[in-house]
């Protein structure tokens, strides 16, 4: 729900509430004023009748007397009621319905006699017709009010929230790996300006951090390779000279460590590269060809561990992946499946139009399987792996929107890639 819609709704509810109260007030006032007016008219009638009584002439045929009854009462009455008003619903014979009737009794003293002059009139209730009229008036008012609120809230919120929407768009378009800052427009609203400023600061900080990190990782890994290569070359030259066994062992240990260093370095560089890799949406790879080819490349390695590999390949499975990245992904998966397998174990590969499954037997992992996608996580610390292969695999999958998961159950490690 949009912000201004929420506001509109709130305003609509509030105005409905206010209008309802207004309606009640109007209704009450109207019915009261109708009764009051009638009473006023009756007072006038009573005073006319009293004047007639005072004059002593016979006015019994006078039209004023049609709705007036005159009695002579006890002398004590006047003290208690200067006048008496009664409002009641009564059956009216002439209208043949129940009507609200107002009676006014006054007690004039004329020539020492205590009179009771009671006049009555029918009050038109502001019900039914009246009510409908009033309700309609209010309903239309409400409708117009609502229309006005809706239109105005659209216009006003568009004007007021313009900078906010600009900020939203800016955030959406913002990319960490680009050097462009967020394009934000200044606004007259304090809060938006504060938000703008904050966002600009935050994003430029993030960008510069990111750039620094990127340059560092690129330079570091790149510049490290040459010294490593140099050291390794020197060690190799030394190995061919006359050395004692002890010296050779030491050299070899150095050599191995350097090799490891180089591999870690390469893997990290690769990951950093993949983080900034612009995937070509058009890149497609035929896995139905590539999977068996990769399996064949690893065949002798699998054979030496006495592994049985079973392939189920659906032909013509072409997915969105860069060819060399696909090769890298498969290499990592296959080498993992061999490396973490038991001697005489099994590897099952299944490729369907929607998924790639790779299962292998192996010991239970020592850490939760989800963590194995992290860097330098090893499911089996005994093995001399770097523990970065799965991080690379996951990153490659992410690049093209494929989903990857890893489960372990009953002695089987199972990797599943669900194609986007």
């Amino acid at each position: 729900m949009k912000l201004n819609h929420r506001y509109t709704l709130a305003y609509a509810v509030i105005s409905l509430f206010v209008l309802s109260i207004g309606f009640a007030i109007v209704y009450a006032a109207l019915s009261r004023s109708v009764t009051q007016t009638t009473i006023g008219k009756l007072r006038h009638l009573n005073s006319v009748v009293t004047a007639q009584l005072r004059s002593g002439r016979d006015y019994s045929r006078h039209p004023a007397r049609t709705h007036v009854r005159i009695r002579v009462g006890a002398p004590t009455d006047t003290l208690r009621h200067p006048s008496l008003v009664e409002v009641r619903d009564e059956w009216d014979a002439t209208l043949q319905s129940m009507v609200r009737t107002v009676r006014l009794t006054t007690y004039p003293v004329v020539a020492g006699k205590h009179y009771h002059v009671t006049s009555k009139a029918v009050v038109v209730e502001p019900s039914d017709e009246y009510l409908t009229g009033i309700v309609l008036v209010f309903a239309w008012t409400f409708v117009f009010l609502l229309a006005l609120v809706v239109i105005l809230s659209e216009v006003i919120s568009w004007r007021i929230l313009k900078p906010f929407n600009a900020i939203l768009q800016g955030i959406q378009r913002f990319q960490l790996n680009q050097k462009t800052t967020m394009a934000l427009q200044p606004s007259r609203t304090t809060e938006f300006n504060a938000l703008n400023e904050f966002l600009l600061k935050m994003t430029s900080r993030a960008q510069s951090d990111y750039q620094g990190l990127k340059e560092f990782s690129e330079n570091a890994s790149h510049e490290l390779q040459t010294p490593i290569a140099s050291m390794k070359a020197k060690i190799e030259l030394l190995m061919d000279s006359d050395l004692t066994e002890k010296q050779l062992l030491m050299l070899t240990a150095m050599h191995d460590e350097l090799e490891r260093l180089a591999k870690i370095n390469h893997s990290l560089t690769l990951l950093a590269k993949l983080e900034n890799f612009e995937s070509h949406p058009a890149a497609r790879t035929d896995l139905s060809l590539l999977v068996p080819a990769t399996e064949a490349a690893f065949a002798d390695l699998a054979e030496m561990k006495n592994l049985r590999t079973t392939l189920h390949i659906t032909p013509g499975v072409v997915v969105a992946l860069d060819e060399s990245l696909a090769q890298l992904l498969l290499n990592n998966l296959f080498s993992n499946a061999i490396r973490h397998n038991l001697p005489g174990g099994e590897i099952l590969v299944e490729l369907t139009a929607t998924e790639l499954h790779l299962q292998n037997t192996g010991y239970a992992p020592t850490v939760p399987v989800e963590e194995l996608f992290g860097r330098f996580k090893k499911g089996n610390a005994a093995l001399d792996s770097i523990g970065i292969g799965l991080a690379i695999v996951r990153r490659i999958s992410e690049l093209y929107g494929h989903r990857i998961d890893y489960t372990y159950a009953e002695g089987w490690h199972r990797i599943r890639v669900v194609f986007a």
Partner: protein, 226 residues
């Protein structure tokens, strides 16, 4: 065989030159882009080993210049970048091969040999060592004229040994040579051990001597039988 090494890292260049000189190559070094260009204009080289990160220019541009001027030398690119970068960016265009730092020196040597052989197809393509022969065209290996039944990997391994005879080859170098990128994640040592064992057995079974010796369990060496 004249080789030009274009590499700005003096120590690494020195090691490579030492190694290649031992292998009877004539080796010259250029440490900058300009120096390399000058040398290539003035002299002819059979093979250029080209580091692409030079202080005063990119080796790739040098490669393009070479090819434009019709220089026929073979070029092996030496790079600190990943193999993947090459595949993704097509950097290796115009180069005959590329090798990723850090590389075992015997591997560099094997690559140079392979390229040289490709360039001169009419040369005698049979490698010999004592009574071992390896025909590079038919990929047949013989002991005293008797054909050995070797797998592709074993042939590859034997060639690697013959090319680097008398040198100690670490298991890692052998693994890198045999499986290239695939070894990143594998316990290559065991695999190398298996392959070498099979190869030795096949040679001795066919009546050859056991030329391959183990060096303290660190690596192997191909030596003339003593």
């Amino acid at each position: 065989m004249k080789i030009l090494l274009v590499e700005d890292h003096a120590e690494l260049a020195q090691s490579i030159v030492t190694y290649l000189t031992q292998e009877h190559y004539l080796c010259e070094v250029a440490t900058t882009f300009d120096e390399a260009r000058e040398k290539l204009i003035l002299f002819t080289y059979d093979c250029v080993l080209l580091d692409i990160m030079l202080p005063d220019g990119n080796g790739i541009n040098l490669l393009k210049l070479l090819r434009k001027d019709g220089v026929e030398s073979s070029v092996i690119i030496i790079s600190a970048q990943n193999a993947l970068d090459f595949k993704l960016t097509g950097l290796s265009e115009g180069a005959d091969d590329y090798i990723i730092k850090p590389f075992p020196l015997p591997e560099l040597h094997a690559r140079i040999k392979a390229i040289m052989r490709r360039r001169s197809p009419h040369k005698n393509n049979v490698l010999t060592f004592e009574d071992l022969t390896a025909d590079l065209d038919s990929m047949e290996c013989r002991v005293k004229g008797k054909l050995l039944n070797l797998t592709r990997k074993e042939i590859n391994l034997l060639l690697y040994f013959i090319n680097n005879k008398g040198r100690m080859l670490t298991r890692q170098a052998i693994a890198a040579h045999l499986w290239g990128d695939y070894t990143d994640n594998l316990d290559s040592v065991d695999f190398v051990y298996q392959h070498v064992k099979n190869l030795r057995k096949k040679i001795t079974d066919a009546g050859g001597k056991d030329y391959i010796s183990t060096v303290y369990g660190l690596g192997y060496k191909l030596n003339a039988a003593t």
